[in-house]
Symmetry: C2
Subunit: 516 residues, 2 copies
């Protein structure tokens, strides 16, 4: 690919393939082999189901999707003004966001390298940056240090932690503690790096201070910004080393280094469900039976039967050559089937986790106007866990802040509350971080608790053993029934996982058809 440069060892650093190479089924596979396209029932029109139907459809498979909800996408769900949702607690929320405002209740960001990007390109879904990191966003952790129980910018926290870590390592290096690890040249290179990385000795020309973190640089952020004339900017002094270390203020820095979370990230313009609707369009909406609740699955000598009730409660049985079941495993485990007890055990193995979000629509973008936060994420050990500021619509007349995005017990605690109480709790805690402004100018709100959401009953699942027999049981076809979904991938909770799993099921099914 890179010609002579590769031979010279000058080829660029490897870029991960988005997934194991995938070749979609092709109509010519049938015409050239004299075989004919088969019928497939896909259970679930979430991202895995839609991808399965889309890829099978490319070769002419006659596909029908059965979907419990009234819309495509599953957990890929964007809520907008006019939508209503009744949760498993029996509460109905009506979304009142202004035109153009939305909240991605499920996935909200796409890494550059995910196969999700390929589908956006193939289907023409416009993308824009998702702001996953912002130096002006905040950290708020409770504790007993001088930097606890208050909002600190990511910017200041980084300056202080990197400053003191660099100072400590420079001192240890100078003291000879690493002479066994590093050559004299390496020690010099390391110190040079640390002085720059940690901004050491920044405000003095004093040699004795060259390896000290003195704070006071603009990296912490200014109280008065540099500007005209003699205004060189003023900076608050850094807290003491002991407070910075003991506070754990750097506990989530590594989030930014993650394969799936490092900038840059993207989002579809207008809402994540643009992907679901683009897939629906590509599949053909007529092939999707919405409001269909699956009540039974049976593999047969000639194919498979699926019982379901339609939106009116009328029972039906559908038959096809194959079934691809993308229903979340903990829900699929409850549906009667004839695939044997090992399948039920396997479906019960992964455990669903709770997660939730609240969208707070404000009539004033105070986070931009007052705080200079244009997108990004605030982290806290309060039960909100994360606050997301919108990545688009800057300087608009309103905006939706994700007031919490939490997991585990925090999410269960909010799930147990009616919406109004969730909102009150979110505002009380958010005000600890942002001040009273957090409770003002809220025009509407909507909260989702995925554990209390019908057809999901959880955000995503976790496996105790993702190489174990239960996992492998679901990777193999059971008679004429295949399984797919992000739970059958190493990208759980990501659309990438759903899509690559769908591709794996499509490949296995098609290979079987082509070799049988």
């Amino acid at each position: 690919m890179f010609g002579a440069m590769g031979a010279l060892g000058l080829a660029p650093a490897a870029v991960a393939t988005p997934a194991t190479a995938f070749t979609p089924p092709n109509p010519s596979d049938f015409t050239l082999s004299g075989r004919s396209a088969r019928t497939v029932l896909v259970l679930g029109a979430g991202i895995a189901g839609l991808t399965t139907a889309y890829e099978l459809g490319k070769a002419g498979y006659r596909v029908t999707l059965l979907e419990g909800r009234g819309r495509p996408g599953g957990r890929n769900w964007t809520v907008r003004g006019g939508d209503t949702e009744t949760d498993l607690n029996g509460e109905t929320q009506r979304v009142r966001f202004a035109d153009g405002q939305y909240m991605n209740a499920g996935p909200g960001r796409i890494p550059q390298h995910h196969v999700t990007m390929d589908y956006c390109r193939e289907l023409g879904v416009p993308l824009e940056p998702f702001v996953n990191q912002n130096a002006n966003a905040l950290l708020y952790y409770t504790g007993d240090t001088a930097v606890s129980n208050q909002a600190v910018t990511h910017r200041a926290a980084k300056a202080d932690v990197y400053g003191y870590v660099s100072e400590l390592l420079a001192k240890a290096t100078d003291a000879g503690a690493l002479d066994g690890e590093l050559s004299a040249d390496d020690r010099e290179s390391l110190i040079e790096f640390l002085r720059d990385f940690g901004d050491l000795g920044n405000s003095t020309g004093d040699d004795a201070a060259a390896n000290l973190y003195l704070g006071g640089s603009g990296r912490r952020g200014y109280d008065v910004a540099p500007g005209a004339g003699l205004q060189s900017g003023t900076v608050s002094p850094a807290p003491a080393l002991g407070d910075v270390i003991a506070s754990g203020i750097g506990r989530e820095f590594s989030f930014e280094f993650g394969w799936d979370q490092a900038v840059m990230m993207l989002q579809p313009v207008g809402g994540m469900d643009r992907i679901a609707y683009a897939l629906e369009r590509a599949v053909g909406p007529a092939k999707i039976r919405y409001g269909a609740t699956v009540t039974g699955i049976r593999t047969t000598p000639t194919g498979a039967d699926v019982d379901y009730t339609d939106a009116a409660g009328v029972p039906h049985t559908a038959t096809a050559d194959f079934v691809v079941n993308t229903i979340p495993p903990h829900l699929a485990a409850r549906i009667p089937h004839n695939l044997g007890p090992a399948v039920t055990t396997a479906l019960q193995a992964p455990r669903p986790g709770a997660t939730g979000k609240i969208g707070l629509e404000y009539s004033r973008r105070w986070w931009e106007e007052d705080r200079r936060i244009y997108g990004g994420i605030t982290n806290t050990d309060l039960d909100l866990s994360h606050i997301w500021y919108p990545s688009s619509g800057f300087h608009g007349s309103s905006g939706v802040v994700v007031g919490y995005y939490n997991y585990g017990q925090d999410a269960l605690d909010y799930a147990a509350l009616p919406h109004s109480a969730r909102r009150s709790r979110a505002v009380v805690n958010g005000a600890k971080i942002h001040g009273d402004v957090y409770g003002r100018d809220i025009t509407s709100s909507f909260s989702v608790s995925w554990s209390a959401t019908r057809f999901s009953e959880g955000g995503w699942v976790g496996w105790a053993d993702q190489e174990g027999p239960d996992y492998r049981t679901l990777l193999a076809p059971q008679g004429n029934v295949y399984f797919a979904g992000d739970h059958l991938s190493h990208a759980i909770a990501w659309q990438h996982g759903a899509m690559t799993s769908a591709r794996a099921a499509v490949t296995a099914l098609h290979e079987r058809v082509m070799t049988s």
Copy 2:
């Protein structure tokens, strides 16, 4: 502002004011005091000149701008298909970018906290993210280590540097080298931080390895990405500690921590000159005389006279109560005036620096398709210095990459070449980083050398002493002539500097009018 929370010490971290508080002149200042608005000649319709005219205009000052170029904005210059430019070497380039494609030849990014953002809001200039940091962008440094002379992702470099730095500090801490600096609790907190920050001991449960950087985690990036089924992803092994340290691969990490450069950054939708044209509209285009080259400036007992030639070469003299001179100081120093030799000396003091960019328009967005780089910056010690990938238009049919953005001697070297040779040289060097793809599918190109650009003759200036007498001379009015521009601020090379300096001149001039 935050009520009781402030009293409890719970107010959010300070957010820098964008600049010293500024109150625009107001028409009522005149009506209430019986004074009348004065006339002002503003020299230069760059960002400082436009801002000066805009703010004075709010109170009714009768302002005329004299601008040498045929457009507003000065160095805020967006080149698009159809534009032509003749440089001081005498070469004329005609821009052939496709519709919708552009390059910001001058400023390309705006920090969240700059006053530039306030003008965008006030003037209704739509903004979108500028991608200033991307884990998938590259580092390429020459040298003699195992990681030199090849492209390394920011992602992998960070994983390796942070991994080894953490390992070294953890070892030194464990060895007791920091017992004099840290309490036992702090040492434990520090080690906990380092294990997470450096991803230490990641692939084993072995206690002996708990403080070792073992590489192999997804933070480095995958050769085969995690996906369906049993595909948990494969990672290339990390280079050795000595190579990572000696390579200096982390030499530019601190860029991301800078006050002005830390994410998140923004850009106007469609080009930086949307700001210049919005200001032009707000000022009133009829008040700007384009093609006017200033040839003389005189303060007089009753105001000031300015000689200039118009686009046809016809000489004129304009008179006003005041002049605000925003012409770059090294150019203003050459214009005859009667302000005394100290002013000439002061204008000569700041030295202009060279900088340049080339825009390479490709008919295929290979950096996205092949390399999964959606915006961001590649750094190199090759003479390109930086490569910028476009922050918008993702998945489009074409795109403009900034093939180099360099300074100093590198910029002078390119400035000395005709455009075709600049392009060849940029492609040869870019191919070292990106492979042969860098030279394919280029449909057009345009390069700017600011040192060879008329009315600029440099990118921005540097002062030897920004608190010294020369600087202060230009901060004070000289008779009825004021000076403004980014060179008179602590935000040189930023529009923020030009705008805050303009505001300072406006404030001083208006105060004088109101108290005289």
